[in-house]
Symmetry: C2
Subunit: 332 residues, 2 copies
Amino acid sequence: MIAVFLCEVNQTTPNISRYAIIVDMDAYIAVDVGGTRMRAAVYPQEGIAPIAVEKIRTTGRKGTPVERLIDLLKQIWPEKATVKGIGLAAPGYLDAQQGIVISAPNIPGWINLPLRHEIQSVFDVPVFLGNDANLAALGEWKYGAGKGHHHVLYITISTGIGGGIIIDDRLLVGAHGLAAEIGHVTILPDGPKCGCGHRGHLEALASGTAIAKYVAEQLVLGVPSSLSSLENPTAADISLAAEKGDALAIEAFNRAGSFLGMALADFLHTFNPSIVILGGGVSRSGRLIIDPIRNTLPRHVLSLEYIRDLVITTAVLGDDAGLVGALALARG
Amino acid sequence: MIAVFLCEVNQTTPNISRYAIIVDMDAYIAVDVGGTRMRAAVYPQEGIAPIAVEKIRTTGRKGTPVERLIDLLKQIWPEKATVKGIGLAAPGYLDAQQGIVISAPNIPGWINLPLRHEIQSVFDVPVFLGNDANLAALGEWKYGAGKGHHHVLYITISTGIGGGIIIDDRLLVGAHGLAAEIGHVTILPDGPKCGCGHRGHLEALASGTAIAKYVAEQLVLGVPSSLSSLENPTAADISLAAEKGDALAIEAFNRAGSFLGMALADFLHTFNPSIVILGGGVSRSGRLIIDPIRNTLPRHVLSLEYIRDLVITTAVLGDDAGLVGALALARG
């Protein structure tokens, strides 16, 4: 993958002797920093096939998470290519413009951390920072399910609900880089408590955690289900049971999908996207979650114009979305 | 305002005799089309002081609304200036990119109307179309309360609630030009019916109409108030009573402001603007409506980062916001 040009210099040019120019390939490094592990990959100038991939645990006995990230970058640093930029996807609240992690609850010490500066001062190449869900949206738009669209709403549904929004071919980050926290919009003012402490947020009603919690509550109430044999059925267990026709499991997905549909109507009214991409673990349940969304939407939109030609689909980049989004950010 | 240069051509230049060059001024025309009246204004290249203003009723015995609009444009057309563009602010659902009014409920016949084409084919200058609330946002951002900000949320609160959103110095219009219908997000799923037919929308809880309706209901229930002497107190009446200390009137504004604060928290989480501008009749009540919004926000935001440095203020362009926004659109 290294382009080497051997040139014979025009002998009429004075003062330059016969020599060989080695033009190094340009490369980009992307890192997806999670609460549990960090994954780094080196990519060439184009495409999303990595040249190298490495991963390590985010915390460990040796070094702080930032020191471990620096080690990971050194480890994967390509010898012969010229690294043109590093893209970092990180969880939590970030000021992406300033390159600061305001708070990443799952990573010890990541509070008001000037991450971009810390990395840039070691490697001396441009470093770009983005929220992981925002960058997953960027990745899916540039290289995944959203290719060709100009207005994209990406919702990731797993333990929590996050997202990213592309407007007019640009990632929405907001004045302080805090935009697109679409799991934290209120759907039921007196609804269940969200992980953030507020009540009735979309995340508290339609995340994988919320689906599992609803089923657990129904089982306690004695609702019959094949899931009663499991100790703590997860959203994945519930998805399997629903595929086999379990009524409670199906109802749990219908309920989550209908809350998602309600929230989506609000998002359509505000953003008017042409595609909605569902990512995260729950999106792997496919039609189980998409069908109730589709069925709910027409009852909640202001005008059918909002759903005319609207594509609702699942993400295609899987766990790589954040990494590929960080790559897109680094490529600029 | 017409710049006239009389030049003596350099006599050494062959084939060009002594002549006078008249350089016409460039001008822009903006029109704000409402359900009741249409206002048109001619503006010079820069600034927002109009050269001429005309208004007529939108409907009347002579001609369809489009024919009346064409007459208005002919009437105001500047004789000696060169019109570089026409900006049209219209109510209802528009496909701004295609220049089509999808439906403007208050204007007879304005359904799937290719308004841009109809005007452009008569006047042969570039015509730009935008939703009136969106364009008011554009006007307030470029020439009003939002100058210097890059992420602006504009909410107009009058009979209904509409708005416009500036993201990264660009107006959010969405895939089909239907974005920023921020009055139609659900705040209380089982709340009062909205003008659009859905339940619990922000518009049904916090518009001028909603404030008046709430007071009327409380009066019927026998709540004591100075307003009980009026037949149908309007939001303006209620505002006056609140200024004089009427408890019910104050409560009505607190209630509306608190719903606005709840909605605003969701908007901050999704857009993360640096300024929120309140326009429309209800915004003239100033602190009566802004204070309860400010008091509600901290309880509903995900992190105080969302309200750090956030400006919440009232619009400054008044009734001219739509017109000035249409001007901004025409100037490009």
